[in-house]
């Protein structure tokens, strides 16, 4: 069922997207402002399409921001980059898009398709290709299930566009695109994974923008009404594809260690129980990868590991982790589509160099 998004929904969506970012994905603040501003002109609403509403032959072109979120807080976009990328890809394909879509529903990339939608009037498909945030472009259910990322269009603030076409080789596409992103100043806007409506229904994680909105609203209302944010979160997840919510740990951050390895912020954080013994260790690479309590794996990628402020329920990013924070760490199950052997080969624990097999959070932790 299609629905509309107004400016008033954006703060909730940003909060929910931060949670789905599982510690990474970038702060959606600038992205939210971009959309808010773009919505001041035009109809003032954005149409969200359920994947089921797409015709099998419709053309969907997802858009995203690529590069360092830390640059985007300084070098704000001109505003036309993502639309320019979309138009360049349409030109290359010889066909206009019927809708746009996120490739990543966690963090700032939840907002980029809304920006394009607000500027072009295109509807946004309520689905994405990560079901969370991941650090690399090929970590997509789209590519797992056979949709190539190429051709990819990149747009910069001077109105320039670049097309990259590496055929079926998505890893090389990512590598070339990253080089151009650096030339464009560390952040660029891309359109990629153009696909048919039938491919969206087959390969995308459905209803993840709606899920972000729902999560953000639940956390806000819980805070306003002084209710437990984790219970509110669990209630919001009922009936969705992410319906197993487990509290992995409640405690205080006692150690954070970060370093840069191959362009990623890798590190560990340790939390100690508020009272008595017990410790949780988080391992992250931009996003959280694995949570171990007293040495035992409690939740592992691609399932979501989310750190929330114990009092306010606000999601805490890996960059924002610091000593003394009181936090609740929550594990959330991901849809079956993200847990198949093919999917795990691309974004399961071993794809991140972890010597662990994936096990669903609901098997590791009882409710």
């Amino acid at each position: 069922m299609s629905r509309t998004i107004t400016r008033h929904d954006l703060a909730d969506l940003a909060r929910g997207a931060a949670l789905l970012g599982t510690g990474g994905g970038g702060d959606p603040y600038v992205g939210r402002l971009l959309v808010e501003r773009a919505m001041l002109t035009g109809s003032g609403t954005i149409t969200l399409l359920d994947p089921g509403e797409l015709g099998d032959d419709d053309l969907v072109i997802p858009v995203a921001q690529m590069g360092a979120p830390t640059v985007m807080v300084e070098k704000i976009p001109g505003g036309g980059e993502a639309v320019a990328a979309l138009r360049a890809l349409e030109e290359r394909l010889g066909r206009r898009a019927d809708a746009t879509m996120p490739i990543e529903c966690g963090g700032i990339n939840s907002m980029m398709p809304l920006l394009v939608a607000a500027r072009t009037g295109l509807p946004v498909v309520d689905a994405d290709g990560m079901g969370r945030a991941f650090p690399e472009l090929q970590m997509e259910t789209f590519s797992v299930y056979g949709v190539p990322g190429s051709p990819l269009a990149i747009g910069g603030e001077n109105g320039e566009t670049v097309i990259i076409d590496t055929g079926a080789d998505n890893a090389r596409m990512e590598w070339l695109a990253r080089g151009i992103t650096i030339r464009m100043g560390g952040v660029a806007h891309i359109a990629e994974y153009a696909m048919s409506g039938a491919d969206v229904k087959r390969t995308a994680v459905p209803n993840t923008l709606g899920l972000g909105l729902r999560i953000g609203r639940a956390l806000r209302e819980a805070r306003e009404e002084h209710r437990d944010p984790v219970q509110a979160l669990a209630a919001a997840m009922e009936g969705t594809l992410y319906d197993k919510v487990r509290v992995l740990f409640r405690g205080k951050v006692v150690d954070v260690e970060r370093r840069t390895v191959a362009g990623f912020a890798r590190g560990h954080a340790r939390l100690a129980a508020f009272q008595g013994p017990g410790e949780l260790e988080l391992t992250f690479q931009n996003e959280h990868l694995v949570a171990r309590a007293d040495g035992r794996v409690r939740c592992v990628v691609p399932d979501l590991i989310c750190v929330l402020d114990a009092d306010s329920g606000e999601p805490i990013t890996t960059e924002g982790l610091r000593y003394g924070q009181r936090a609740v760490v929550v594990g959330i199950s991901t849809p079956a589509l993200m847990r198949t052997p093919e999917a795990l080969a691309v974004f399961g624990p071993r794809a991140f160099g972890l010597d662990i097999d994936f096990r669903p959070v609901e098997d590791l932790v009882s409710p």
Binding site: V71, I76, E157, G186, F264
Partner: protein, 518 residues
């Protein structure tokens, strides 16, 4: 001798110090014009301890006057923001996320021009002189006398901001210019917001600073005047005229540093208990730890260098409710009406002060008026306060090491003599900790930039950054031999090549005074 003055919303406190000792300390009421309150405080100091004005070699003032002007949207000048960054940044013009009321209060106008740098120092575009001249014409037409200039990645390279300033002041000689590169760090909107706020306060700053200088001269004091900044370091009056925004958080900073001085602890937690709230912060090496997240002031997102202070709704005037098993304290307070409403003053409201008196912690008002109070209720309320404050101290800790706790402020009688984390220090003169904090402030220099860190070069890059911070402190007036690095923070930036790392270094030293007196 030197004089430290704290101009708060309610009280103006002043101390006369010689080296490490406090010769006199007074508390007077703050006045709207600021200066007459200071005149009164200076006269009161003279009364308490006669001194030769010529023997005063420095006066340090901390004030919340400028942040209050912003919060009240009062006394602000018409202001324009000029941003260099086109074709980037056009999507979010200056003041995009401000409360409408404040945009109106400063009659804010925004202009976008070409310029700006990339993260690695390349240029986004060349600034266009004709474009900036055109802005000058607009400013003239609208009668704007103060302008904020921002440029993308100006913390990495400030040349374009400077160039735009030269062009604008060439056209409009009387124009007051505030540069974002001198005010904030990476994060364009937040830095620009702080710069615009600064620009809107420039005229008020000139008026107030001139008044302060006049007050001192009237008292026969010809020593240099300094204002304390957010980070606990000092700025001279010329800097204060140009950067009033740098005083925004000096209140909590001075109280924390004053507490450290009075107690002798350099690394400690400070609990400042007032009438309505308790502010809890951490000092490292004598300086408050800064907030790492954006700080919102009057509804505007900024990245001020603010101390990371946790505020709890617990103070001497907090209302106490419930029974022994379910007692609550605050967050609401009778505030300045304590002297009428509290039980010990004959009122009918049970406050935290009343339970402290009933439990024998303090002798305030008439203890007889709370003699009938259930002693176990009073103890339960005090335990509640102690456990909430202890919890807050745990949250502000930065390491598992033992952390001494220093308590200041009139409400500190509510606190026990010991917390789980260690003993509590209650220094002498705790009521004027802010003014003492101002009197002992130092001079600082800071570096905050993205550095490429090649393999094996990390230490060399860090050393360069540290040296630059030390040089900046000396350039700002610190005594060379006394400068030391107090903070180093590295944040690797994901997705960028060459191990781009954001490095922040802060160095501080004692104020260099004429004749070598320190």
């Amino acid at each position: 001798m030197r004089i430290g003055i704290d101009v708060g919303g309610t009280n103006t406190d002043a101390v006369l110090m010689d080296g490490q000792s406090v010769l006199a300390a007074v508390k007077t009421a703050t006045t709207r014009d600021v200066t007459s309150g200071i005149n009164t405080a200076l006269a009161a100091l003279q009364t308490q301890r006669a001194f030769d004005p010529a023997a005063v070699y420095a006066v340090m003032i901390g004030t919340t006057h400028f942040i209050n002007a912003l919060v009240e949207a009062d006394r602000l000048a018409p202001t324009a923001a000029v941003r260099l960054g086109l074709p980037a940044t056009a999507s979010l013009p200056p003041m995009v996320d401000w409360p409408e009321r404040l945009v109106e209060a400063i009659a804010g106008r925004a202009y976008l021009c070409h310029g700006g740098h990339e993260f690695d120092g390349r240029r986004i575009s060349e600034p266009r002189e004709d474009e900036i001249r055109q802005v000058a014409g607009e400013l003239h037409r609208h009668g704007i006398r103060s302008v904020a200039i921002s440029s993308v990645f100006s913390p990495v390279n400030a040349e374009f901001e400077q160039r735009a300033a030269d062009i604008l002041t060439g056209e409009l000689p009387g124009l007051a210019v505030s540069l974002s590169s001198e005010i904030g760090r990476i994060g364009l909107l937040e830095r620009e917001n702080a710069t615009i706020i600064n620009a809107s306060l420039r005229e008020l700053a000139t008026r107030i600073v001139d008044g302060l200088v006049g007050s001192l001269e009237g008292a026969g004091i010809h020593a240099p005047l300094y204002l304390s900044q957010n980070d606990g370091t000092l700025m001279d009056v010329d800097f204060a005229r140009r950067y009033p925004v740098a005083t925004f958080a000096s209140g909590p900073t001075n109280s924390m540093r004053g507490a450290a001085f009075l107690s002798g602890a350099q690394t400690c937690a400070v609990v400042d208990v007032g009438g309505t709230t308790s502010d809890i912060g951490v000092l490292r090496h004598g300086f408050p730890r800064e907030a790492t997240t954006e700080v919102s002031v009057a509804g505007i997102r900024t990245n001020f260098r603010m101390p990371d202070v946790l505020s709890l709704g617990i103070g001497g005037g907090s209302r106490v409710r419930g029974g022994q098993g379910d007692v609550t304290v605050g967050p609401d307070s009778v505030g300045y009406r304590l002297a009428e409403e509290a039980r010990v003053f004959g009122g009918s409201t049970l406050t935290a002060t009343d339970v402290a008196v009933a439990a024998g912690r303090a002798a305030i008002g008439d203890p007889g008026l709370v003699r009938d109070l259930d002693r176990s209720l009073a103890e339960a309320a005090l335990r509640r306060i102690a456990s909430d404050i202890a919890d807050a101290i745990e949250r502000v800790r930065t390491s598992p090491d033992p952390l001494p706790v220093v308590v200041v402020g009139g409400g500190s009688i509510l606190l026990p003599d010991e917390f789980e984390s260690g003993p509590v220090h209650r220094p002498e003169h705790f009521a004027v900790a802010n003014a003492i904090g101002a009197a002992i402030a130092q001079i600082g220099g800071e570096v905050d930039r993205i550095f490429p860190v090649e393999p094996g070069r990390r230490q060399a890059v860090l050393d360069d950054a540290k040296q630059e911070a030390v040089d900046k402190a000396i350039a700002a007036g610190a005594k060379p031999g006394s400068v030391r690095v107090v903070e180093v923070d590295e944040v690797p930036l994901a997705y960028l090549p060459g191990n781009a790392t954001r490095i922040r270094v802060k160095a501080v030293g004692d104020l260099q005074l004429e004749g070598g007196r320190g």
